[in-house]
Every structure is written in structure tokens, then in C-alpha cells.
């Protein structure tokens, strides 16, 4: 099934390039969704069903919908007229090349890929899916960080409400 990997990896990459290149914000947003779908397929190929599904459910299905929603309500014409400055293009290419170099150096020096990892299905053992494993971990080992993150999100939500209410007055 290697060819499926190449198809979905290409899909994710094409989507990523589309996000950067597209002048129209809505097109860029849709390219991002395509990229997310490719990523989700890659996760599922690694037997990480829950992560892959959550990638679609949360990012493509909820967050990007809100993005598209907001972009649609804004005036997109102005963004289309704006031109890319040459300095911006060259510097972004520089950053991209530097990042690629960094990643390749790190990958070469690290142990990843030196020996094949066991399949996720074998790790989790028979009778329990990755959903069970992740759930148990979240509610035992990582319950405190989860609570902290929850409180953080709550604070952010309350903050947004306060800010938007102020504007109304």
C-alpha cells in the first residue's frame, strides 16, 4: 500500500503549497482543508485511526469551517489586489531552505528510522483499540495537563466574550 502513502503525501504537499500560493483567501483556506485531509489519511495509514479522524473532525470539520465563514463575511477583493514584495518572497524562500536543512540534519543525527517501529495495533494489544489506549492515558497519566488546558481555553473564551462585549458599548 505504499502507493497510497505517496498519493496522500502528495495531496498534503499540494494543499500546503496551495495555501501559500493562492491569492484568494477562500481558495487558500480550501487548499488547507485538502492538506488536512491528506494528513488525516496518512495518520490512518499508520493505524492511528483516532488521530486521523480527529484531524478531520476538529481541524477540517470545525476550525476551518469557522475560518471559511469569517473569510466569506470579509471583503476579499482587497487581499487579491495586494502584491507580494520581492524581499518577502526571497526571505520566505530562505526560511524554507533553512528549515529543510535543519530538519534533514536533525533526522540524520537522530535514531529515528534506524530500526523499524512496531505497528500501533501490536503495541496496544488485542481487544483494545487506540481509542481505549488514548482515553486511559488522558484520564490517568495526563489528567492534570488536560485540566490545565481546559481552564486555559475557558479563560480564552471568557476573554473573547469580554472583548467583543466592550466593542458593542
Amino acid at each position: 500500500m505504499t502507493f497510497l502513502f505517496y498519493i496522500f503525501a502528495a495531496l498534503a504537499l499540494i494543499g500546503g503549497i496551495g495555501v501559500v500560493v493562492n491569492r484568494n483567501p477562500v481558495s487558500a483556506a480550501f487548499a488547507m482543508i485538502v492538506s488536512f485531509l491528506g494528513l488525516a489519511a496518512l495518520f490512518i495509514q499508520l493505524d492511528a485511526y483516532l488521530v486521523g479522524i480527529l484531524q478531520i473532525l476538529v481541524y477540517a470539520g470545525a476550525i476551518m469551517v469557522l475560518f471559511v465563514f469569517i473569510i466569506m463575511l470579509l471583503d476579499v477583493e482587497e487581499e487579491e489586489k495586494r502584491r507580494f514584495p520581492i524581499i518577502g518572497i526571497t526571505s520566505s524562500f530562505g526560511v524554507a531552505i533553512a528549515f529543510t536543512l535543519l530538519v534533514s540534519v536533525i533526522l540524520k543525527r537522530s535514531e529515528i528510522g534506524a530500526k523499524p517501529l512496531p505497528k500501533l495495533a501490536e503495541v496496544s494489544g488485542p481487544g483494545s483499540s487506540d481509542v481505549h489506549r488514548i482515553g486511559e492515558m488522558l484520564f490517568s497519566q495526563y489528567w492534570f495537563p488536560i485540566q490545565i488546558v481546559g481552564v486555559l481555553l475557558l479563560v480564552a473564551t471568557v476573554g473573547v466574550i469580554v472583548l467583543s462585549k466592550k466593542e458593542l458599548r
Binding site: F30, I33, A60, V65, L66, M72
Partner: protein, 359 residues
């Protein structure tokens, strides 16, 4: 081995999606017209074929032969993409629904995933893009308003939809739809615990949160599929036809059929989660386990049971449509956010407490 799996999956996809679900979509359009006619003391389409059963074919031919008109002011690429984006996710969700137990040693589900309900919600949440795109790409005011309404409606009700099934998943302790149905076949349907373990006091107490879940789930399903009484994205008195105002011919038909396909899949999910999927009442003809061998005629009966239940729920959808008037938009949002969200959350806590108390 791998090729055998692929061939089996292809056969299942062709049989269940293209030879069963799609004709069911067409037939449900016919059923909608006949039932609505009977409710309004009319006759309905009864000319084409016996009882007008071939009306669906005639409609399909009509849609294909009509002029496919693209207005000049639309954003063409997205305008053409949108109808497909409504139809495809609706059909993709078929993949995890167990249509039956087993037939000739083959499980009657296209993809036996361990994250069944999540997959359905994930893919169904993608169908909102079709409507958003249709509204935005049409580049005119009514479709746009319809698209905006639909987006906010679907996002709002996805939350209560997702939360409403959490109590069930807590009771089953399982995310695999096939195992959920097997559990219900042995221990009584979630809504009807009349046999097996369900006949105890525990089963009856747990039926209370399940019933609340069922009501929230069904109502949210109506909102998700844009059916009356929640069809605000396309309500004709305010928005002409909502997001598909600018569409004609087969493109319009795809929107139309996508709505019915979503309805069928929603009914399928409701049947699987609440009404025991393919299992017969009182545990008749129940296989030993999900892996046990099933005689072929049992398998056929199970498939028939599943589709009978789905058709029953579709008829329920249709009767509700011709019974209730349309909600106002603020009422819809209030219902979603103020009532269902809270009730669903409370229901989760209640189920957790009950499970803890009963164990």
C-alpha cells in the same frame, strides 16, 4: 489476501452504496411526495409505473436532460465543486454502518473501523463545505444568506449531536458499530431493553438517559440534514431557495439527493446506535459473537431488518416534515445552544453517575 479484501470491499461498496443507498435515496423522494400527498388528502405521483414507483426514474431522466445553466456572475470552479461536496460526504459515511451481521462469512460492513460514530461525524461535518461553497460561489444575496445560516446551524448542532451519543458510548464502552449492534442484539436495544441483560432494573434505569439522548440526537439530525422544521438555510418564504437558488439541472439534483442521502445515513446511524441495527427484537437469530459464523439466510434476514428499520425512520422524518411548521432562526439557535447543549452535558454526567451507582 490483500486483493481478496479489496475485491470484497469493492463488491460491498457497489452493492450497498450504488445498488441500495442510491435507489433508496430516489425512492425516498418518491415516498416523500406520496406521503405528503396522502397527508394533504391528495394522491401524489401515481402515473409512472405501478403506484408511480418509477417516478424516481422519470425525475432522474428529467434532471439529466434539463439545461445545465451556469450564471455569468458565479465563481465557476467552486460553483461546480459545491454539489459534489454535498453528495460525496453523505455517501462516504455509508462506509462504517453495519448493514447486516454476516453473509457467506463476510462482515456486512464496508470498513470495520474502531471509531465508527466519530468517522460518521467527521465526514458529515465536511458536507457543510458544499453548502458554504454553494452560497459563496453563487455570488448573490439569497444563496449567500442561506450558506451563512446553514454553516452556523450545522456547527451548532454538531455539538449537541456529538454530545448526545456520549452516554450511549459510555454504556457500550465501545466505538465499533458492529460490536455495538452485537451488544444490543444480546442485551436489548438501547431504547427497548426487553430481553437479555437489559430486562434487569439496570437496563430500565439506563434507558432514561438513552431516551433523552435519542430525542436530542434525532432533533439534531433534523437540523444537520436541513430538514423541516429546521430547513432555514433554504426556507423559500425568506430566501427563495437558499444556497441552491442559482443551481439547475443535475447540479440542483445533487443538492436535493444529498439532503436525502444524509437523511438515510442519519437514520442508519440512529438505527445502529439506538434501535439495535440489524438485530431482530427479543434476540431472535442472534449470532454468538461478532466473529461467530452466521447461516446465510440469517444474514439476509438481518440485512432486511436493518433496511426495514431505516425505511421506518425515513417515513418518520417525512411525516414530521409535513406535521411541524418551520422554526424561527433565533428559536433554532436558542434550542441548540441553550437547551440541547446543556441537557446533553447534564445527560453525560447523569449517565456517568448512574453507571457508577449501578456497578
Amino acid at each position: 489476501m490483500e486483493w481478496q479484501i479489496i475485491i470484497a470491499a469493492t463488491i460491498k461498496i457497489i452493492v450497498f452504496v450504488f445498488l441500495t443507498t442510491l435507489p433508496l435515496v430516489a425512492m425516498s423522494v418518491w415516498a416523500e411526495r406520496r406521503v405528503s400527498a396522502a397527508i394533504q388528502d391528495r394522491v401524489g405521483p401515481n402515473r409512472v409505473g405501478p403506484f408511480g414507483l418509477l417516478q424516481a426514474v422519470a425525475d432522474g431522466i428529467k434532471f439529466l436532460l434539463k439545461e445545465d445553466f451556469t450564471p455569468n456572475h458565479v465563481r465557476k470552479g467552486y460553483f461546480w465543486l459545491a454539489p459534489a461536496l454535498v453528495m460525496v460526504p453523505a455517501l462516504m459515511t455509508c462506509a462504517v454502518l453495519p448493514f447486516g451481521s454476516k453473509l457467506f462469512g463476510e462482515k456486512m460492513v464496508i470498513a470495520d473501523l474502531d471509531v465508527g460514530p466519530l468517522f460518521v461525524f467527521a465526514v458529515a461535518s465536511l458536507s457543510v463545505y458544499g453548502i458554504v461553497l454553494a452560497g459563496w460561489a453563487s455570488n448573490s444575496k439569497y444563496p449567500f444568506l442561506g450558506g451563512v445560516r446553514s454553516t452556523s446551524q450545522m456547527i451548532s448542532y454538531e455539538i449537541s449531536l456529538g454530545l448526545s451519543i456520549v452516554p450511549l458510548l459510555m454504556i457500550y464502552g465501545e466505538l465499533n458499530l458492529g460490536s455495538i449492534v452485537q451488544y444490543q442484539a444480546e442485551n436489548g436495544w438501547a431504547l427497548l431493553p426487553l430481553w437479555g441483560e437489559g430486562l434487569s432494573a439496570k437496563g430500565w434505569i439506563l434507558a432514561v438517559p438513552v431516551f433523552v439522548s435519542f430525542i436530542i440526537f434525532m432533533t439534531s439530525m433534523f437540523a444537520e440534514t436541513n430538514r423541516l422544521p429546521f430547513d432555514l438555510p433554504e426556507c423559500e418564504t425568506e430566501l427563495v431557495a437558499g444556497y441552491h437558488t442559482e443551481y439547475s439541472s443535475m447540479k440542483f439534483a445533487l443538492f436535493f439527493l444529498g439532503e436525502y442521502a444524509a437523511m438515510i445515513i442519519g437514520s442508519g446511524l440512529a438505527v445502529t446506535l439506538f434501535l439495535g441495527g440489524w438485530s431482530l427484537p427479543f434476540g431472535w437469530l442472534t449470532p454468538e459473537s461478532t466473529e461467530a459464523a452466521v447461516p446465510w439466510w440469517h444474514g439476509l434476514i438481518h440485512i432486511g431488518t436493518f433496511f426495514a428499520k431505516v425505511i421506518g425512520l425515513i417515513l418518520f422524518f417525512i411525516v414530521i416534515r409535513w406535521t411541524l411548521p418551520r422554526f424561527r432562526y433565533d428559536q433554532l439557535m436558542r434550542l441548540g445552544w441553550v437547551f440541547f447543549f446543556e441537557i446533553a452535558l447534564f445527560n453525560v454526567v447523569l449517565t456517568a453517575l448512574l453507571l457508577w451507582w449501578l456497578s
